[in-house]
Amino acid sequence: MKILVSLKRTADPDNANKVKVAPGGAKIVTDGLEPKVNPFDEYAVETALRLVENGKTRIAGDTVVVASFGPKEAATNIRQSLAMGADSGLLFTTDDDSLDGDLVARALAKVVEAQKPDLVILGKQAVDGDSNQVAQVLAETLGWPSATFAMSVNLSADKKTVTVGREVDGGVVKLTLTLPAVISVDLRIVGAKAVTNNVTPAAFAYNDGPRFAPLPMIIKAKTKPIAEAPLASLGVDTGLKVRYTGFELPAARKAGIKVKDVADLVERLRTDAKAL
């Protein structure tokens, strides 16, 4: 079993309020913000790791490969996945600004051709652009079955199919895909028992959330390989289909008012807010 996970680095989503728009609205400025792994991609790494272990130790022969597109510094973020337990990394170098969802999907298709994984797992979207396209375009390009927004994944004992739970209005839809396949994951995939592989004991419960890297793995991650090559070496057309025409910040919220007492509040609700 070989799983490919795609990873994007994004400006610290916990400090999204510090994002600025460049004068003229030409671009978003994220200077000074810590580059972090897109949280949904981190969930994808966690999903992959849960599929290739028995709750405690790795299943022999299974591998998890992490691929990323971006500047050389993105190697740091790949290294974090290796510290969580992934086996090797691939970094295809380019500027953050020279990428769009379409290009990443077509480039990933080339990586898939070379790596021949049984399963590709991605975050459902990156928290910066919120485009939510790569998994879909990739599956279409490869002609593979896909399931988006996975909240549970069950790998069959014979490792020939995965059954993916997707949250929909009023319930959960389950899709069974024949491998190889593409899955994009949603927040609930890192719940204690969301990922099962018919190897890990049914009673085993993970900690909620992506795992913290164990110290021995952090130390070991240094010796795991990260292969680095220019994006162009994949032989894809690096032209962009998505063009950003302008950015603006949301309008600032108006200040609230203080009311004297309940009677005043009711009066204001009636006259100013016209809510009553």
Binding site: D14, A83, R211, L215, I218, I219
Partner: protein, 466 residues
Amino acid sequence: MATLSDELRASLREALPPDTVSYDPADLAEYGRDWTKVYAPAPSAVAFPRSTDEVARIVALCDKYGARVVPSGGRTGLAGGAVARDGELVLSLSRMRAIDPVDPVAMTVRVDAGAVTEAVHQRCAEHGLTWPVDFASKGSSHVGGNIATNAGGVKVIRYGLTRQWVLGLVVVTAKGDVLRLNGALEKNNTGLDLRQLFIGTEGTLGVITEATLKLTRLPGPSQVLLLGVSDLAAVLALFRVARRGPFVLSAYEFFTDKCIARVQRHRKLRVPFDTACSHYVLMEVEAHDRDALEAWLASLFEEGLVVDGTMSQDSSQAAALWALREGISESLSATGMPHKNDVALPIAELEAFCARFEAVFAARYPGWEIVTFGHIGDGNLHLNVMKPDAMRREDFLAQTHEADRELFELVRHHRGSISAEHGVGLLKKPWLSYSRTPEEIAMLVAVKRALDPNNTLNPGKIFDLP
């Protein structure tokens, strides 16, 4: 119970804007207590002044009419220093929370005493600066209270106590005089530094109303490590090694599995690794050489110093690891009744002390839940005992009082302090003599009498006047 005299009430009404003083029972109950749960609040009034001048008028009137004043900040204290239980007027600085513009060249900021610690941090961070006084209650505590108690916290090993980060103070004396001490001077060698008299004396000598804080640059990227070790001796052994590690050590905290169990009950947080350990160390390091740090970590495993562990990969993980440590104090109070001890030992005595205190607690509290944590890197241990659910409160307090005697004997024997950073307040007052000699206490009394002859300010805290 004493109440404010009619003359005083009338004078306060005359001297101050109408909404300055409250006699509302809800305010009295709220502002008469701090995080210490032991004492019932019973003040007779709460004043909410807006300026140093108003504070001066209130204190002068109280002093004139014989009323007593309890200065009050964020009320996060753990020794009863801000408790008013005998008809006092509580002087809350909560309306005085202005923060002036940060001076990025002088690296100072002037604030009113009621400024919330975390708000000051946020304002300074915009300039790449910080006031390095940091602890779990920073979201509620006031700068004035931090200074009046010379607060400690989690970064003392790196930056020292609050005392070292205060340049100037504005203080209202018991007579209602306003002292402006030291301004924004870094250097001022002109005799006795009066400013330091008011730092750490818990509002017994004067009311701090404004401060000029000394700032420092925000530290560079840091890593937070959570390490599982086998016992308290291993916590100390690891500390010895960490002192010489290839990094700047900015925090060295420890806690036990019992702390984590309480945190898990209250906040649903878990230690993010699988090996169950009895003791945990949280270290924060500023490592400029990542390879050297990793090599050092590898050596810990080779030498068997740690059992398991993790290191933050980004700032969110760092915050998540800190949440385990910072949630302890709150979780103990939320899930039970802790009896808290906050002792300090010389680093060199820690090992000998720890070996003996566990025996004292085991003998005194057979089968009780002992919850230990602390800033062991600066010799500070928080030794807590939880009240058994079935035991009556009075019995619990009586038993812990008896055990304290034995504990503090041990602290004295090892030349430690009965209160490292929580202050003395009411809670540790009976034990002051275990850390201070009769000659010292006579001097403390003389200073109090000189500065506050009518015993107006926070009476009965730290020591009783003979």
